[in-house]
C-alpha cells in the first residue's frame, strides 16, 4: 500500500498543495481521505521535489490540513467493458444507476493517444440523421466531429436527441452505439435526456456519463475524456460505430478557465488559458476512422455560444478544430420553426466526400448548392423589402423571396419525430426548386434537371 501523507500546506479553490512527498508522477490519480471517513479523488497537476499540486475532482469542501493524501502511482484509467452499454455513470465513471460496478475487460488511460495521421482513413460514409437541413445541406459523415453551435434557450437538446435516435448509415446493419457525456448541465436537462433514452429504448445501446451543474467543476475536465475512452474502446475493440454526444462544451471551457485561474496561470483571450486550443483539440481530435479497423468515432458536441457570439473564444477555437458546425438560429426559433437550423452559417467540411453517386445521390451536391444559393439570395432580399417594399421587386426577386419563406417552412421545418430519408429530403428540395424559374437553376447540370426536376420527371 502506498504511503499516506499529511503534509497539505495550502488549499486554494479546487487545488491542494503538498510538500515533502516521495516522487509523484505527473497526472497521477490521488485519493484524499477526509477526517470524516469519506474519500475524494484528484489528479496531480504539477509535481516537483518541493511541492505537489493536486486538483480535487469532487471539490475541496470539507478538506483541511489533517486530510491524508495517497498517490495511486498510476494515471487515471477507466475500467471498460462491453457491458458498459446501457449503464449510467457519474462524471468520474462510477455507476449511478444502482447497478453493480463494471467488471473491467481492460483499464484504459483516459487521456488517450493521438491517432497517427498516417493510420487515419479519410471519412466518407454518409450518416443519415433524418434531418433535412443536416442531411441535405450539411451532411455528416462517419468519423467527423460536427458540433452544434447554439445559444441559451434554444432547442439544441431536442436536436441532439433527434439525431441520436435517428442517425444511421442507410443500407448497413452494423453495430451502433451512443456515448453521452453531460458536463455541467442541469438535473432537469439530464432527466430530459434520460427519459428520452429510456422511452425510445436507446439506453440499451448507450453509455451515459453525467456530471451535473451541482457536481464539482473540476470533474468536468475528465468527464469527456472518460466518455471518449469508452467510445474508442467500443469502436476499436468491438467494431461499433459510436456517436459521441458531449454537452455542453462551454461548461467544459469554463471549468478549464476556473482551473487556470486557481493555478494563477497567465490568462489568454478573455481569461481562458492559452492552451485551450490544444486542450480542445485533444477532445475533438479523438473522432475518426482508423485504417483496418471496422468501428468509428463520430462526435456531435453541443456548444452554447455566450451571447450568441460566434467570435467568442470557445466557438472560435472549436471551429478551427472541428470539421464544420451546425448553427442553431434564434430568429428561426422565434418563428416557431423546428429544428431552427440556419443553413447559411452552418457547414460540414467533409460533406463533399460523403455525398454524390455511391454515397447518396448523384444530384445531391448540385441540389444543395442551388438551395443554398437561392435561399441566401432570398434572405438578402428580405432586408431590401423592409426598405423599399415588396412591390418594388422584380418578378425574379419576388420568386426568390417566396422561395426563402417556403424553404424555411418546408425544408427546414420538420417534426421532432419525423425521420426523413435522403430521398425525401432531396425530393423536397426539388419541389421547392421547381417553384423557381428554370433559368435561375444555374448551379444544376441540365442532365440532372431533366432527370429529377418535377416538371421533366415522368
Amino acid at each position: 500500500m502506498t504511503k499516506e501523507y499529511k503534509t497539505i500546506t495550502e488549499i486554494a479553490g479546487p487545488l491542494i498543495f503538498l510538500e515533502k512527498t516521495e516522487p509523484v508522477g505527473y497526472n497521477e490519480l490521488v485519493n484524499i481521505n477526509l477526517p470524516d471517513g469519506t474519500t475524494k479523488r484528484g489528479q496531480v497537476l504539477d509535481t516537483s521535489h518541493d511541492i505537489v499540486v493536486v486538483q480535487v475532482f469532487e471539490g475541496t469542501g470539507g478538506l483541511n490540513r489533517d486530510c491524508g493524501v495517497r498517490f495511486s502511482g498510476d494515471t487515471i484509467k477507466l475500467p471498460v467493458s462491453f457491458d458498459m452499454l446501457g449503464r449510467i455513470l457519474s462524471g468520474s465513471g462510477d455507476p449511478l444507476d444502482g447497478g453493480p460496478a463494471i467488471i473491467p475487460e481492460d483499464r484504459l488511460d483516459i487521456m488517450g493517444a493521438a491517432i497517427n495521421p498516417f493510420s487515419r482513413l479519410p471519412p466518407e460514409d454518409f450518416i443519415q440523421t433524418g434531418i433535412s437541413t443536416i442531411d441535405g445541406t450539411n451532411t455528416l459523415v462517419r468519423g467527423q466531429k460536427l458540433p452544434i453551435f447554439s445559444g441559451s434557450g434554444l432547442p439544441h437538446n431536442e436536436i441532439a436527441l433527434q439525431i441520436a435516435r435517428q442517425a444511421k448509415v442507410p443500407g448497413s446493419e452494423e453495430d451502433f452505439a451512443v456515448v453521452f457525456a453531460a458536463m455541467g448541465i442541469t438535473n432537469e436537462e439530464a432527466q430530459y435526456f434520460m427519459h428520452d433514452f429510456e422511452r425510445t429504448g436507446a439506453l440499451e445501446r448507450a453509455v451515459v456519463f453525467l456530471n451535473l451543474a451541482n457536481d464539482p467543476a473540476v470533474e468536468r475536465l475528465i468527464t469527456p475524456r472518460m466518455a471518449l475512452t469508452a467510445a474508442e474502446y467500443l469502436a476499436y475493440e468491438h467494431d461499433m460505430h459510436v456517436l459521441v454526444i458531449l454537452t455542453d462544451i462551454t461548461n467544459y471551457c469554463e471549468a478549464l478557465r476556473q482551473m487556470g485561474a486557481a493555478r494563477e496561470e497567465v490568462p489568454g483571450r478573455r481569461g481562458y488559458p492559452g492552451y485551450m486550443y490544444t486542450d480542445l483539440a485533444s477532445l475533438y481530435e479523438r473522432a475518426g476512422v482508423v485504417k483496418g479497423r471496422k468501428g468509428s468515432v463520430t462526435q456531435f458536441s453541443i456548444l452554447s455560444m455566450p451571447g450568441d457570439d460566434i467570435t467568442h473564444p470557445i466557438p472560435d477555437l472549436s471551429g478551427y478544430i472541428t470539421e464544420g458546425q451546425i448553427v442553431v438560429s434564434r430568429e428561426l426559433h422565434m418563428k416557431g420553426i423546428f429544428p431552427p437550423i440556419n443553413v447559411l452559417p452552418s457547414l460540414s467540411r467533409l460533406m463533399n466526400s460523403g455525398i454524390g453517386e455511391g454515397h447518396t445521390r448523384e444530384d445531391h451536391k448540385a441540389v444543395s448548392d442551388q438551395l443554398y444559393a437561392a435561399y441566401a439570395e432570398g434572405k438578402d432580399l428580405r432586408g431590401l423589402v423592409a426598405i423599399v417594399g415588396k412591390d418594388a421587386l422584380s418578378e425574379r426577386d419576388k420568386k426568390l423571396l417566396e422561395f426563402a419563406d417556403m424553404f424555411e417552412d418546408r425544408f427546414v421545418r420538420q417534426g421532432p419525430e419525423e425521420d426523413r430519408d435522403i430521398e425525401t429530403t432531396l425530393s423536397i428540395g426539388w419541389e421547392l426548386l421547381a417553384e423557381l424559374p428554370e433559368s435561375l437553376l444555374v448551379r444544376i447540370d441540365n442532365k440532372f434537371i431533366e432527370k429529377y426536376h418535377p416538371a421533366h420527371k415522368k
Partner: protein, 589 residues
C-alpha cells in the same frame, strides 16, 4: 561536463531538470522512458525543458540525459517520399512500431540507416573540398539526383573517396585530417544553413496559373501568404503550385491541422502525378504532418524541421517550394508554450517574440549561391488561418508585414464558381518591379505595361460596379460600358482557369502574354470604333471576342488564336463598314 541529471519538476510539457550542464536548445532525454525534449531556459543549476511527448506519469527524480546537441534533422538520401511528424520521425514507421496510436518514448532515425544507395563520386583524392562542395551523386528517386555535399563546417583535402553501394552511415570519403564523411549529416533545425551569398529575387516562380504569374507573381526565393477561409479552394491552389511551379522539390508542412484533413492530404499527395515527368509527385516531395492533438512542442518544431530539409535541397542547387499550412497553428503552439513558461504575454496572449520568430522563419527563404557555388532557392508559401476571418489579428498582421505577396483567397468568388478564387482587388505582389527586367527579356517588353493596364481596368471596374448596382449598366456612358465588357473578358478568359482541364491547367508565360495581348487588342479596336461612332451595343454583340474564351482550351493555341483575331478584324471592319455605308447613304439623301 555532466550529461546526466534528474527531473526536478513536471508541469505538462514543461519539465525542469537539475544537475545537468546544458546549453540552450540542447536535446535531452527525459525520464525512464527517454522522452525527447529541448532546453528552452536555464535558471541557476536548473534547466527548463519542453518535452515533445506526453508527460503523464513521469516523476521527479527520474533520470535525464543531455545528448549535447540541439534538435537536429538527419540530412541525406531517403528524405524524398517520406512522411514525417514534427521531429522527423517517419509516420509509416511509427505505425509499424507502435500501432495506430502514437505512443511515447520511441526514437527513430529520420533516415533509413540500412538502405543501400548507389554512390558515384565526382572528386578525386587530392582535391580540395570545403563546406557545400559536392563530392558525389546518388540517384535518390527517378528524377532527382541527390548531391552528396561536405557538411557546411568542414573543409580539407580528400585523402580517399569510395564509389559503389553504401548506406547513409558508411564512410564514403576521408579527408587528409582523418575526418570521415558519410552520405548523411545532422543539422540543427533552428539554425539556418549558411550560404555564400543571397541573390536578389529577380526571377519569377512560374506556376502556370494566370492570376499568379500574370497579376501577382512571386519571385523564386520569395515569400507569399495565403489565407485559407473554408471553401475557397486552398487545397487545389496548393496542389496546383506543388504540381506545376518550376521547382524541383516540394516540402509540405501540415502544422496543427485537423486529423481528418491531414489524412486527406496524406492519401491524395501520393496519388498525384508530376505532370512534367509522369512520375508520382511524391518522388520529389517531403511531407511533414503534425495534427492539432499531437504534442504541442513537436508542432512548434515542425516548421523548423521542414525549412531545414528545404535548405538542404537548396544547397544542392535546387529550387524548392515550401508550403506551411498553417503558420497560425504554429503561432498558437508558440503561444501555448510561452504561457506554460509564464512569460509576459503580448497581443492576444501571443508571446512578444512572435513577430521576430515569424520574420526569422520567412527570412530563411531566398535565392542564394550555396557554399558549393550552386544557385538554389526556397520559396515559402505560408497559409494563415485568422480566427473568424479577422485579418487584424496578430499572426496575420505580422505575417503581412514580412511577406511580399498576398494571395487573397475569397470564399465569395468560390461560391460564384470563379476559380482560382483569388481576389484581384485585395491581393498584391511587391515583386512586380523587381521582375520587370526578367519579363522584358523573357516574355516581352510590352508585358509589364499590359499587366498594369489590366490591373488598372480591374480597379476601374470595381468602382463602376458600385454605380451599376445603383443605376444599372445602361445608364453608364458608352466608354465605361466598354470598360465593363473588357474587364469581363479579363476576369472570365484570363483570370479564371480550370485546374482540371488537361490544357488549361497549365498556362505558360508566352500563352498568358498572347491571351492578355488579344484582350488588349480588342480593347484598342473597340475604343477606336467607339470614337468613330460605332454603337456600344454593336461592339458588345461581336462574336469573335467570346470565341476568345475557348482559345485557352485548344491544343493548337496559336492557330486558334490567330483565327479568332482574324475574325475580330473582319467583324470590326464590317461594323465600321456599315457605319460608313450608313453615313454615305445619309449624305446621298
Amino acid at each position: 561536463m555532466e550529461i546526466k541529471g534528474e527531473i526536478f519538476r513536471i508541469s505538462g510539457p514543461v519539465v525542469t531538470i537539475q544537475g545537468v550542464n546544458t546549453r540552450m536548445y540542447d536535446v535531452v532525454k527525459v525520464g525512464n522512458e527517454g522522452l525527447m525534449g529541448e532546453v528552452i531556459g536555464i535558471e541557476g543549476d536548473k534547466s527548463i525543458v519542453q518535452v515533445y511527448e506526453e508527460t503523464a506519469g513521469v516523476r521527479p527524480g527520474e533520470p535525464v540525459e543531455n545528448l549535447g546537441m540541439p534538435l537536429s534533422v538527419e540530412l541525406g538520401p531517403g528524405l524524398l517520399e517520406s512522411i514525417y511528424d514534427g521531429i522527423q520521425r517517419s509516420l509509416p514507421i511509427l505505425k509499424d512500431t507502435m500501432g495506430d496510436f502514437i505512443q511515447r518514448g520511441v526514437m527513430i532515425d529520420g533516415l533509413d540507416h540500412e538502405k543501400p544507395w548507389e554512390f558515384k563520386a565526382c572528386v578525386e583524392a587530392g582535391d580540395k573540398v570545403s563546406g557545400g562542395s559536392v563530392i558525389g551523386v546518388v540517384k535518390e528517386t527517378h528524377n532527382v539526383d541527390h548531391k552528396i555535399m561536405i557538411p557546411p563546417n568542414i573543409s580539407g583535402t580528400v585523402a580517399e573517396i569510395k564509389e559503389g553501394t553504401f548506406t547513409v552511415v558508411d564512410t564514403i570519403c576521408t579527408l587528409a585530417d582523418g575526418t570521415q564523411i558519410k552520405m548523411m549529416h545532422k543539422w540543427p533545425v533552428r539554425e539556418p544553413r549558411p550560404v555564400s551569398k543571397k541573390l536578389p529575387p529577380n526571377i519569377p516562380l512560374i506556376t502556370g496559373q494566370r492570376i499568379l504569374d500574370g497579376l501577382f507573381p512571386v519571385a523564386k526565393g520569395g515569400t507569399a501568404a495565403i489565407p485559407g477561409p473554408f471553401g475557397s479552394g486552398k487545397t487545389v491552389t496548393q496542389q496546383q503550385l506543388a504540381k506545376w511551379s518550376d521547382t524541383e522539390i516540394v516540402v509540405y508542412i501540415g502544422c496543427g491541422e485537423r486529423g481528418n484533413e491531414m489524412a486527406d492530404v496524406l492519401n491524395e499527395f501520393p496519388e498525384l502525378e508530376d505532370p512534367k515527368t509522369g512520375r508520382p509527385l511524391m518522388e520529389r516531395t517531403v511531407l511533414i504532418a503534425n495534427t492539432s492533438n499531437m504534442p504541442v512542442a513537436a508542432r512548434e518544431a515542425s516548421v523548423y524541421t521542414g525549412i531545414t530539409i528545404a535548405e538542404y535541397y537548396r544547397d544542392m542547387g535546387y529550387d524548392v517550394a515550401l508550403m506551411a499550412d498553417s503558420t497560425s497553428r504554429w503561432a498558437e503552439a508558440m503561444r501555448e508554450i510561452s504561457s506554460r513558461l509564464e512569460e509576459m504575454p503580448g497581443e492576444e496572449g501571443y508571446p512578444a517574440y512572435l513577430s521576430a520568430r515569424l520574420s526569422e522563419f520567412y527570412e530563411r527563404a531566398g535565392r542564394v549561391v550555396s557554399l558549393g557555388g550552386l544557385d538554389g532557392s526556397i520559396t515559402i508559401i505560408g497559409a494563415v488561418s485568422p480566427p473568424g476571418g479577422d485579418f487584424s489579428e496578430p499572426v496575420t498582421q505580422n505575417t503581412l508585414r514580412i511577406v511580399k505577396v498576398f494571395w487573397a483567397l475569397d470564399a465569395k468568388l468560390a461560391q460564384k464558381r470563379h476559380f482560382p478564387s483569388i481576389n484581384w482587388l485585395s491581393s498584391y505582389s511587391l515583386y512586380s518591379k523587381a521582375l520587370t527586367q526578367w519579363y522584358d527579356e523573357n516574355v516581352s517588353p510590352q508585358w509589364t505595361e499590359l499587366r498594369d493596364d489590366a490591373m488598372d481596368m480591374l480597379q476601374q471596374e470595381a468602382e463602376l460596379q458600385d454605380i451599376v448596382q445603383l443605376v444599372g449598366s445602361d445608364a453608364l456612358p458608352p466608354d465605361q460600358q466598354l470598360t465593363l465588357e473588357i474587364t469581363r473578358l479579363i476576369r472570365e478568359f484570363f483570370l479564371q482557369q480550370n485546374a482540371f482541364h488537361p490544357i488549361d491547367t497549365f498556362c505558360p508565360m508566352e500563352k498568358q502574354y498572347q491571351l492578355l495581348g488579344a484582350i488588349q487588342k480588342f480593347s484598342d479596336k473597340a475604343n477606336a470604333a467607339l470614337e468613330s461612332g460605332v454603337l456600344i451595343q454593336d461592339i458588345i454583340k461581336l462574336k469573335s471576342k467570346d470565341e476568345l474564351a475557348k482559345v485557352r482550351f485548344e491544343e493548337d493555341f496559336d492557330g486558334s488564336l490567330k483565327k479568332v483575331m482574324d475574325n475580330m478584324d473582319k467583324e470590326f471592319d464590317s461594323i465600321k463598314g456599315e457605319l460608313f455605308a450608313e453615313g454615305a447613304t445619309q449624305e446621298v439623301e
